[in-house]
């Protein structure tokens, strides 16, 4: 545990530890190995609890699922099924094998970043993440309060929401955990780009005004330092995708399935004129996927910027140009690419695909609706 993290990060990591999402002891904890064991035990307890809820809901005859017609019941069951899958993968990743990659991430991050000075600086540094986290949580809580106060709660609604909402909270907070890691990655990339920009300015200044002996060599060494830095950032990215390989997939899948199913229910409740406004609870889920995809895209977009800055450096000696060539080739070999298990690149293009897919399935299910309800009546 030879790394330092600032206070804001520390606070939030503690919060994730409480939820069993961050299975590592923080630096400076007394008894790290005992703490790790305790965290794992806690994660196991939470997993058992969630799994029991899902099992009871799926098998019980009570009104947990919407029982009026078979297709709606199947849809509700699917929501629970995918939520359970997400929970399984989330807590599965706190096991020691997977935890290693997360530890590597924090080690790499903590080893090379000097902690920001005051609390205010820290808040400014992490503002993107903080705004997203508190915005999303606030929205979710406000909607929940509104829902409870406006809606007259029937037996089914009470049972369904009291069991399903914990899953939703957990999965959404996991998503904000991804946001945190991606934001740290982005900060590193932005910093690298800035430093390269400085080198560009030096080199152009030296070429027109004053140069000194050994300047080229100095520049070359600086470029090499940046190369090492980029290599570390790439490893950061790799350890992020290894640490969260399955849960990125299942969390996105669960939110996606929920959106699709709830869009169906939105139409269904209006069509059958049922007194239920719980489809408003969909809003936070709709915000989660773009937030994540935007964060990952903003990481991936930095790489071409870095390459651009790199080639802006003015060269006069062959040694420097060789070094720049080497860095450029290295960037080609090590693209920062965030994809869940190689299945799909997580950028805004995926967002359009998801939107298209949701629309298509809505049309399918809406077509299906009269036939299904007609047969059940």
């Amino acid at each position: 545990m030879g790394y330092h993290i600032d206070r804001v990060l520390r606070l939030h990591l503690r919060f994730y530890q409480l939820l069993g999402l961050h299975g590592l002891p923080l630096p400076g904890d007394a008894h790290p190995s005992r703490k790790a064991w305790l965290l794992q035990f806690w994660a196991g307890c939470l997993l058992t609890g969630f799994s029991t809820i899902a099992f009871v809901c799926l098998t019980s005859d009570d009104d947990y699922l919407y029982h009026d017609d078979a297709f709606s019941c199947f849809n509700d069951g699917m929501k629970y099924g995918f939520a359970e899958m997400a929970v399984l993968s989330i807590y599965g990743e706190t096991l020691p094998g997977q935890r290693y990659h997360l530890a590597r991430f924090w080690q790499l991050y903590g080893a090379r970043t000097p902690p920001a000075g005051t609390l205010r600086q820290q808040l400014v540094q992490h503002r993107r993440y903080l705004i997203q986290l508190y915005g999303l949580v606030f929205l979710e809580l406000v909607l929940l309060c509104l829902f409870v106060s406006v809606q007259d709660i029937s037996h089914h609604i009470l049972l369904f929401w009291s069991t399903f909402q914990p899953f939703v909270f957990l999965v959404h907070l996991r998503n904000t955990q991804f946001l945190l890691h991606l934001e740290l990655l982005r900060q590193q990339l932005v910093q690298l780009e800035c430093e390269l920009g400085l080198l560009v300015e030096y080199s152009s200044f030296a070429s027109v005004a004053a140069s000194f002996a050994g300047f080229e060599d100095y520049l070359r060494r600086r470029v090499r330092e940046k190369q090492l830095m980029y290599e570390r950032i790439y490893e950061l990215c790799i350890s992020f995708s290894r640490a969260f390989s399955y849960s990125v997939l299942t969390v996105l899948l669960m939110i996606y399935i929920r959106i699709t199913v709830d869009c169906y229910f939105l139409y269904y409740t209006i069509y059958m004129s049922i007194d239920n406004i719980d489809y408003y609870m969909l809003m936070p889920a709709v915000m989660q996927i773009p937030a994540f995809l935007y964060a990952s895209q903003s990481c991936m977009q930095m790489v071409p910027r870095i390459a651009y800055q790199l080639h802006n450096i003015l060269t006069t000696s062959s040694a420097l140009s060789l070094q720049i060539q080497n860095f450029s080739l290295q960037i080609l070999h090590e693209p920062v690419r965030i994809d869940c298990l190689g299945i799909i690149v997580l950028d805004n293009h995926l967002l359009t695909r998801i939107a298209c897919a949701v629309c298509t399935y809505i049309i399918f299910t809406v077509q299906l609706m009269p036939k299904l309800s007609g047969s059940s009546i």
Partner: protein, 531 residues
């Protein structure tokens, strides 16, 4: 070369059991005795005849199976919607087609397959000369696990279906056993592909590990060079970067050996003055000659004992040869990968088509079975949800494992470039940069990607498309099924109502009014909307 040849075990040595099994059931035609004695795959005319005979036998038996179970399908055609019947008919022969593709391809490729493994052996020898050993022992274990899994899955599906869903009082029902043959043969053939692919992946990883070892060794060497145990990162110190390190290293090694003088103090006083090239080179060759090939995935044989670290990366001319050789071997493995992909391209295409169609069909038939509709007799396993799940896991597991392995192999081949760059950056030598840039471009241009006949690449992105396709088609099929059922119900109730309406009309003798009533009722019944 002659002294290293016996050191490298041929890869085929691990394939003994698999080859024997494949030979018996007729997956491969090659000569058994030559394989036993020399571990080579050679063409065999007898094997070819035997295999063709087996193929004919399987086709005959399978047709007999279809014929003997087709009695039930006649009733299906009469009672059920035509959609289910047509899907069943369309998919009747797909398993057989898949099996025939495998076997015919194996017949055509019987010469080339042997050459492929010969090329892998040559690669192993070259890797051995570069002191990176590949451990083949886990391959035999892998084959065994895969075989056991296959047999468990096949037997489970076969027996549960036979006991639960086949009327086993008739002796003809024993023919049901034939239904497992196509998938079993297909799986055996795919195990060959999967394990060979895995072997290629291991070779890529061995190359990567060798390169990474060079890096870690050099890093250790540099920390040792700066003589500062506290500094974990040797690159930050500017003073150590400006001087060529190879001379100092060997000299310090010499001092260390001779007098045990403190290195730090020596460096503090000496620094750049110690450039005595001839001694350095003689020492270096001495250091090399006692070095033995390392075991794979062990960075340094005894890092604690060997206090004076050696780094090959500090000698650019020598390491150039090594890097060149490694990259050539990498190219050769890529070429082997492409050749292997070519050999199995049609079988993989047919497997993927089979996987997609059967997955969709099985789920659709499961839906039909839950709605108490009858389904084609060959797909009777869909009547039981549990067996269906096992069938789906088996089929999709086969497809996904191949895709996953191809993707991983492709990633491992790309990883070599990354390791190469690490070497370059860590060594920080102009000559080495030139070499690394050259080789890195070469690696960029020469990557291996697996595809099924060029129709789609075998990587994880394909899964996204396929899963989307399966869901869409399933929903469409279920919609058609629902529509057909509702039309049928409407016609039935219309017919029954027709009779009653006729009776009512005749009894009350209000011809005109009954006909309007009749119109009203038919229109309401024929539009299956909800109220």
């Amino acid at each position: 070369m002659s002294q290293v040849t016996p050191m490298v075990q041929p890869l085929l040595l691990q394939f003994q059991q698999l080859f024997f099994l494949s030979k018996v059931v007729g997956v491969l035609p090659q000569d058994l005795t030559k394989f036993r004695h020399k571990n080579v795959l050679e063409k065999s005319r007898n094997g070819m005849i035997y295999m063709l005979g087996m193929l004919a036998l399987y086709v005959g038996l399978y047709n007999l199976l279809i014929y003997s179970f087709s009695e039930e399908d006649r009733t299906l055609k009469a009672t059920q919607s035509t959609l289910t019947f047509v899907i069943g008919l369309f998919l009747t022969y797909i398993g057989l087609i898949m099996m025939a593709t495998d076997q015919v391809t194996a017949l055509f490729n019987q010469g080339k397959l042997g050459e492929l493994y010969e090329r892998i052996r040559v690669v192993d020898e070259r890797l051995y000369r570069e002191q990176c050993l590949v451990n083949n022992s886990c391959i035999a274990k892998r084959i065994r696990i895969m075989l056991v899994m296959t047999i468990i899955f096949e037997l489970f599906i076969l027996l549960t279906t036979y006991i639960e869903l086949v009327d086993y009082t008739q002796w003809l029902s024993l023919l049901w056993m034939v239904s497992a043959i196509p998938t079993f043969i297909n799986t055996l053939d795919k195990i060959w592909f999967a394990v060979s692919l895995f072997a290629l992946k291991e070779r890529f990883e061995a190359i990567n590990a060798t390169l990474e070892d060079l890096v870690t060794e050099h890093e250790k060497f540099q920390t040792w060079l700066t003589g500062d145990a506290d500094a974990p990162e040797p690159h930050t110190a500017d003073s150590s970067e400006t001087q060529p390190p190879q001379y100092d290293s060997n000299l310090e090694y010499l001092y260390k050996e001779l007098g045990g003088i403190d290195i730090g103090s020596l460096r503090g006083s000496g620094g750049k003055n110690n450039k005595v090239a001839p001694i350095a080179h003689s020492l270096n060759s001495f250091g090399e000659s006692i070095q033995t090939p390392r075991k794979p995935h062990q960075p340094n044989p005894n890092p604690m004992m060997n206090m004076a670290h050696e780094s090959e990366l500090s000698n650019a001319t020598k390491v150039e040869e090594k890097l060149n050789n490694l990259c050539q071997v990498h190219d050769e493995i890529c070429e082997i990968g492409k050749a292997m992909n070519g050999l199995w391209s049609y079988p993989i295409l047919s497997l993927m088509a089979y996987g997609f169609l059967i997955f969709t069909a099985q789920l659709y038939f499961l839906y039909c079975a839950t709605r108490a509709q009858s389904i084609p007799s060959l797909f009777r396993s869909a009547k039981n949800p549990f067996i269906t799940v096992i069938v789906l896991v088996y089929t999709s597991g086969k497809c996904i494992y191949l895709i996953y392995l191809s993707w991983k192999t492709s990633l491992a081949s790309k990883r070599t470039g990354i390791s190469l760059h690490k070497c370059g950056v860590v060594a920080d030598d102009n000559l080495l940069y030139e070499i690394v840039n050259h080789l890195s471009l070469k690696l960029l241009n020469h990557s291996v990607d697996f595809s099924a006949c060029g129709f789609f690449t075998l990587d994880m992105e394909t899964l996204y498309g396929v899963s989307g396709g399966i869901t869409s088609y399933l929903i469409i099929l279920i919609q058609f099924n629902l529509a057909a059922q509702q039309a049928k119900d409407a016609i039935q109730s219309f017919n029954s109502f027709n009779d009653t309406a006729g009776l009512v009309g005749a009894a009350t003798e209000f011809g005109n009014e009954s006909s309007t009533l009749y119109d009203l009722v038919t229109t309401t019944m024929m539009t299956p909307s909800n109220y």
